[in-house]
Amino acid sequence: MTRPAGALPAEFADVHPDAWTEPFWLANREQRLTIPKCVNCGTFRFPPGPFCHSCRHQEVEQVEISGAGTVYTYTVVRHAVVPSLADSVPYVIAVLEFDDAPGVRMIANIVESDVDAVRIGSRVELAWDHVDDEVTVPRFRLAG
């Protein structure tokens, strides 16, 4: 159980699952990235929530995806807005789209990569961050 280079301090990975988000966080512990998909109309739903925005159906299946994706947009954070991030800047926050879950976007850090190499359209792959026994967060790195 390790953390990737450039991962933010563990204190920020404090999560508060509800009935709809818990499957995501539990799957992460097993290094499975899952996105809920409407069993009625097939629309992916993220962040996980109680209704399909397209057909208003509730029930979902948890679909495991590869994490291969593309940077939709991003920022390089160069100023620590809270003191405990002082040793973490610069870091990249990206909004990602995934090859096998069209229609959803995920906010995530890009780690283990040159922060100045990230571009819109850059390809990314998973870099799991086992923050502690309770919480695992999907991070991403630029794909070779």
Partner: protein
């Protein structure tokens, strides 16, 4: 049918604008009461005439105001949901209260005091613990673990996308900052009055790419109150009436929480989120962008002014960068003077209520940087999670 011109803004009042935290030892309720009294004085009304309150961004404790100022009766008190997006819309809410018969003299108000641990700039930091920090929620678990804490970081990602799609340059963002600073130079109420150049802008430190120091609003303390009443009553008061011609709040539904979820449809991801509100406010007022003499556009971050110019039809979507770089938003020489008061960037950040105040002063003909023959003004609330809002005022 919107009650066009049936209500009017009749009074405005403000405290001095302070550096963040520097309004102490005044209390928040003290500043709130000061500006309500000042707005009543400006209007030629007694505070005992006030019978309604219409807020945004968390509102204020109306009970505390009423007991403190000895307001005889409260007949309407309500707050638009969301945050700074509702700034201009709070005046629309006042108009709705009046024309629906709930109240006659309605106060819209913002009071901001950012003492230790209460800072908007880190509003989304889960460990912030301050007054302005958002509560933890299952939804925010998809935001804060990634160190996405600050509105500036969030809007930087919309700006990055706009640059990617349309080739928008940092020079455009610089022009927003530089032109607003020019407007602040001769304005006694403005907190930043030193001219800035393109060189200053380009050599400023980057905060969250592509935004640098000059792309960011200030963080201030202070208060602004605005009083709205019926058009009929307005005509007998101290100052010329400034009619509420149109008002709108809301957004496209899937704009949703916007910067807090980033799932907005690609069609309007790189926008201010104002397109439906722009359509509605123009239709209600019966005007178009070509009729607007001065635009007070909520400017927490420079790129969002560029995107609002597009969404309000001053130029085509994607053309905002070249449009501002052409000098179009300059006072006196531009085709649409923007933020003649210096805006949040250079005058002060009271979550958008200074924009309403400036519109009123422009239409009364008493502005410091007066736009000649200004008859119609557009005021927008912040590009923000739903709702965003706008009003069109006319003399």
């Amino acid at each position: 049918m919107f009650p066009k011109d049936e209500t009017a803004v009749v009074g405005v009042g403000s405290t001095p604008y302070y550096k963040r935290g520097a309004s102490l030892p005044q209390t928040k309720i003290e500043m709130a009461c000061k500006v309500i009294l000042a707005a009543c004085e400006d209007a030629g009304l007694s505070v005992e005439d006030v019978d309604g309150f219409a807020y945004y961004s968390g509102g204020f404790d109306t009970g505390l105001i009423a007991q403190t100022l000895g307001i005889p009766e409260v007949r309407f008190t309500a707050t638009l949901t969301g945050g700074g997006g509702g700034a201009a819309g709070s005046v629309g809410l006042a108009a709705a209260a009046i024309t629906s018969g709930h109240a006659n003299v309605v106060v819209s108000l913002m009071t901001l005091q950012q003492v230790t641990g209460a800072r908007f700039g880190a509003a989304f930091a889960s460990k912030g613990g301050g007054t302005y920090s958002r509560p933890v929620t299952p939804e925010m678990d998809f935001v804060t673990p990634h160190g996405l804490f600050a509105p500036g970081q969030m809007f930087s990602m919309l700006a990055q996308r706009h640059m990617h799609l349309y080739g928008t340059r940092r020079e455009a963002f610089a022009e927003v900052a530089i032109s607003e600073r020019e407007n602040a130079v001769n304005r006694p109420t403005a907190r930043f009055r030193d001219r800035i150049t393109l060189d200053d802008y380009m050599s400023a430190r980057m905060i969250s790419d592509p935004l640098c120091l000059f792309d960011y609003t200030q963080e201030n303390d202070g208060a602004v109150a605005v009083i709205t009443t019926t058009a009929e009553r307005a005509r007998d008061l101290r100052k010329p009436p400034v009619y509420v011609s149109g008002a709108a709040n809301g957004s496209a539904g899937r704009w949703g929480q916007a910067i807090m979820w980033m799932g907005m449809p690609d069609e309007y991801f790189a926008s201010s989120g104002h397109r439906t509100v722009a359509r509605d406010v123009y239709a209600r007022a019966g005007v178009t962008a070509a009729d607007i003499d001065v635009a007070l556009l909520y400017d927490h971050f420079t790129p969002m002014v560029v995107m609002q110019l597009e969404d309000y039809g001053f130029c085509e979507v994607g053309e905002g960068g070249p449009f501002v770089e052409s000098g179009a938003i300059r006072w006196k020489t531009g085709s649409i003077p923007v933020n003649t008061h210096g805006g949040n960037l250079s005058e002060a950040y009271i979550i958008g209520m200074t924009h309403v105040k400036e519109a009123v002063e422009q239409l009364r003909g008493e502005a410091v940087n007066q736009v000649e023959n200004a008859e119609v003004a557009l005021v927008s609330g912040g590009p923000a999670p739903t709702p965003v809002s706008a009003i069109i005022l006319r003399k």
